[in-house]
């Protein structure tokens, strides 16, 4: 009983916190670093595969073909960081592009048609938001549903007829800014802006916070629902922009525009080190990943490799990249 009186002092030492990690560690053990390394490797391998690959002009032109997808991937990154996911933007691109094309083909003045397309995109984002935020359904399944629905609507609207775009509006990718195709410029600018938003503003900060722990975020007075709504609307509109850019690049629109590209978008985010469970990821990561993907697929195409090999490589890349990020994060975790 005497022992009871003098209770041993709670062992403060055992509860003291770990020392901070050294800076080099913080820099090196980051997914973006991994992406950068892969990118450099990719360039080397690609130029080994084909002597025709290493040509800035060509690479830029090829990137212009994926710029729209990459643009959406940037916003998708933010959505995933916030703890949700959206698989419907590719279908959204198709539908809003079809609506735009159909409008301008039936005589609506281009600016108005563009506006229609953008509104359609916004609406589609709104539908996703409704199911996810109001009905509290898992975004993954919801957006699989809307992915089928939006594509289906595009199919109804356009059949499998391709709708011509007015000559004047054709060819964004032919417009060069200092020798760089406009879509690429748009992508780079968007990346810079979004990187600032995500990294430097309170909005971005709160995206990370709701992605890390939504309950805690609510308790800290963060309006997670509002932020998620904004994100879904944002990705809706950006998808529409991407769709219309694609329309202009192709000069015509069919319902199968960007068919199956949702995988590529997710892939870019994952490869960039975005954590599928939310709370982690960066715009620069996705930026690098986009270039990595283009380098990989272009390298294979110019070497006339079977497209099947590209699919396989993409699939493997996706799996490997999440394994890697999960590993890295489980390391940095506590």
């Amino acid at each position: 009983m005497s022992a009871a009186e003098t209770s041993p002092p709670a062992n403060v030492a055992g509860r003291e916190s770990a020392p901070p990690r050294p800076l080099w560690h913080l820099v090196l053990v980051r997914p973006e670093t991994l992406t950068l390394v892969l990118l450099i490797l990719g360039v080397i391998v690609a130029s080994r595969l084909s002597p025709y690959f290493l040509d800035i002009g060509y690479i830029l032109r090829s990137f212009a073909l994926s710029a729209e997808i990459a643009l959406v991937a940037l916003v998708l990154t933010m959505v995933i960081i916030a703890g949700e996911i959206d698989l419907s933007p590719a279908a959204n691109m198709a539908l809003s592009a079809c609506i735009f094309a159909w409008a301008q083909a039936s005589g609506v003045p281009i600016p108005l048609a563009v506006l229609l397309g953008l509104l359609a995109g916004l609406a589609m984002g709104g539908v996703n938001a409704f199911f996810v935020i109001v009905m509290q359904l898992p975004s993954i399944i919801v957006t699989i549903g809307t992915l089928i629905l939006y594509r289906g609507l595009a199919q109804i609207l356009a059949g499998d007829r391709s709708i011509r775009i007015a000559e004047g509006f054709i060819g964004v990718d032919r417009i060069l800014v200092l020798g760089v195709p406009l879509p690429v410029v748009v992508f780079v600018l968007a990346a810079i802006v979004l990187a600032l938003v995500l990294g430097g503003t309170i909005f971005g900060r709160q995206i990370y916070q709701i992605g890390t722990n939504e309950v805690a975020a609510r308790h800290a007075g963060i309006r997670s629902r509002r932020i998620k709504l904004i994100l879904f609307l944002m990705i809706g509109v950006v998808a529409a922009i991407a769709g219309i850019m694609t329309a202009s690049r192709l000069g015509s629109v069919r319902y199968d525009l960007a068919l199956g590209k949702e995988l590529e978008m997710v892939l870019m985010a994952m490869l960039g080190g975005t954590y599928i469970f939310g709370g982690r990821g960066t715009i620069p990561g996705t930026f690098l990943a986009a270039w990595l993907l283009v380098v990989v697929s272009t390298g294979m195409t110019v070497a006339n490799l079977l497209p099947a090999i590209q699919m396989t490589v993409l699939g493997i890349l996706l799996i490997v990249s999440i394994i890697a990020t999960n590993f890295i994060y489980s390391r940095t975790q506590r």
Binding site: P9, P20, T201, A220, R280
Partner: protein, 512 residues
């Protein structure tokens, strides 16, 4: 020593645990515990919240592996590697929070994991249901065993857990606060069964915060404090005062309440707050500079009241007034705008952003201050957080390290710091010292005192009576979602509070 203890002294103990220690991520929650459980005794584990009772129980039942230490069953060493092994050894644990498979039928929940049969062996539905019904009758509860578990009340879920333990005729049954959600009648039945099991020569470990229950049921008690075992005694050796002293570890007077003089105007006032199924007609008020304690048993509805006031899960009816003005609070940030702050009971789930920096965690509630024009001003953020860190003496290596790397106590301080930055008039603390070591606790009590002294109104929810008694100017008590008593500091006592906290018409005299 006398009584049944003395008699069974001679025979080999059913369980003898030696030098059991347990760490969770470097936090030591059990330290070198030795404990013998005799055949055919009902053995109580007592201790404050966080003392380590459940952890010890879970170690016996193979849910956790001890960091160090050995367990012997009937004298021979055993490895309780996992719950199934425990099951096989005849050890069953009734968890503090009932675990259930909501989509499976009650009957299935009863048998799941008990059978050793292979994967593809058939499920004997008929027998299963029959046995389940029998058990329910035995427990005198009326539950349709073919219905899915989902939708059962916590109490009924608890009953199913108990039934499960009975069905697996174990030598050792550990009941971790089984009575917390039960009605007095159910408690009686449970006690009846417990006694019968004892007479069959089984051993029962009974964990509870209710001394009356312990006295009514148990032969011996072991008391835990801050992860240490402070002693094992036959129950009639000890007075309640002894037990409390052992649990708390220092004479109560050390905690004695420091009266506050400068109590000001009413800051928070709630009237007839009601959320059906959770709480009814809650009315009270808190003045500036006053600490109002809110006591009760786990599950009484206190957290729900707090969450309602703060707008996390708003009440359906009733009014809330802040500084005399009627307030509509739909979301926490409404509450924050009105000068409320809320330190939730479940830190990991509702408090911290584990993987984000301490800095970010501290400034989470004051976006406007660190980012006046939307863009974050690092200098401001740095200044604010480091100032808060200093004032609350948060122990950390760097403000940029993930908060997950901090100890529980320091995490809790960081959360408190977060709320100090909002400069709240009303501060709601729900179990602020749960799972925090004794040293830090003392600090917390000083901080809370200072906060009140600085003219803030504080609503303190705590299941630790000494804590309530030490800090509160007034003490409210909740039971089954209703306010059942209010004591000015002077009149409050552990006994009175307990009486008010235990569900109505519960007079454990009968149970005994």
């Amino acid at each position: 020593m006398t009584g049944p203890a003395a008699l069974s002294q001679t025979q080999v103990p059913l369980i003898s645990a030696r030098g059991i220690s347990k760490q969770f991520a470097g936090v030591e929650v059990l330290r070198d515990v030795d404990l013998d459980l005799r055949v055919g005794e009902i053995h109580a584990l007592l201790g404050e919240n966080g003392a380590g009772k459940s952890t010890f129980a879970k170690i016996l039942a193979g849910v956790h592996r001890p960091t160090t230490g050995t367990i012997a069953l009937n004298g021979e060493q055993v490895e309780v590697a996992n719950p199934v092994v425990a099951q096989r050894l005849g050890i069953t644990l009734i968890h503090q929070e009932p675990i259930s498979f909501p989509d499976l039928s009650v009957a299935e929940n009863l048998v799941l994991g008990r059978s050793e049969d292979g994967w593809f062996s058939p499920v004997p539905w008929a027998k299963m249901t029959r046995d389940a019904r029998a058990l329910m009758d035995l427990l005198g509860v009326d539950i349709d065993v073919t219905q899915p578990m989902r939708g059962l009340s916590i109490a009924d879920q608890q009953m199913v857990e108990i039934a499960r333990a009975l069905a697996s005729d174990s030598r050792l049954i550990i009941m971790d606060e089984p009575t917390a959600p039960l009605t007095p009648r159910e408690v009686e039945t449970l006690f009846g069964i417990a006694r019968r099991l004892r007479s069959e020569g089984r051993t029962i470990v009974f964990i509870s915060h209710r001394l009356e229950e312990v006295r009514a049921l148990c032969d011996r008690v072991t008391i835990f404090r801050d992860g240490n075992k402070v002693g094992t005694h036959t129950i009639d050796e000890l007075t309640d005062a002894d037990i409390i002293r052992l649990m708390i570890g220092r004479p109560l007077k050390e905690y004695l309440h420091k009266p506050r003089t400068e109590i000001g105007a009413v800051a928070l006032e709630v009237e007839n707050l009601t959320l059906p199924g959770r709480f009814e007609a809650i009315s009270f008020s808190v003045r500036r500079g006053e600490i109002v304690g809110l006591g009760g048993l786990v599950g009484a509805g206190r957290t729900d009241v707090a969450r309602a006031i703060f707008g996390v899960a708003p009440a359906l009816s009733g009014t809330i007034r802040i500084n005399g003005k009627q307030a509509t609070i739909r979301e926490p940030d409404d509450a924050i705008a009105l000068g409320l702050a809320f330190v939730p009971e479940d830190r990991a789930q509702a408090g911290i952003f584990r993987s984000l920096s301490v800095e970010q965690n501290i400034t989470a509630a004051v976006p406007a201050r660190i980012a006046p024009r939307g863009f974050i001003r690092r200098s401001v953020e740095k200044a604010l957080s480091s100032e808060a860190i200093r004032s609350l003496r948060v122990r950390l290596a760097s403000a940029r390290q993930p908060i997950g790397e901090l100890s529980g106590g320091n995490q809790q301080k960081a959360i408190l710091a977060r709320w100090l930055l909002t400069d709240p008039t009303v501060l709601i603390l729900d179990e602020p010292t749960r799972g925090i070591d004794i040293g830090v606790k003392a600090e917390f009590y000083d901080r809370i005192g200072e906060l009140a002294a600085s003219g803030r109104a504080i609503l303190l929810i705590s299941s630790e009576l000494p804590e309530l008694l030490a800090l509160s100017d007034r003490i409210l008590v909740m039971s089954e979602g209703r306010l059942t008593a209010e004591f000015p500091r002077a009149e409050a006592s552990q006994e009175k509070i307990m009486k008010a906290a235990v569900p109505r018409s519960a007079t454990l005299g009968e149970a005994a």
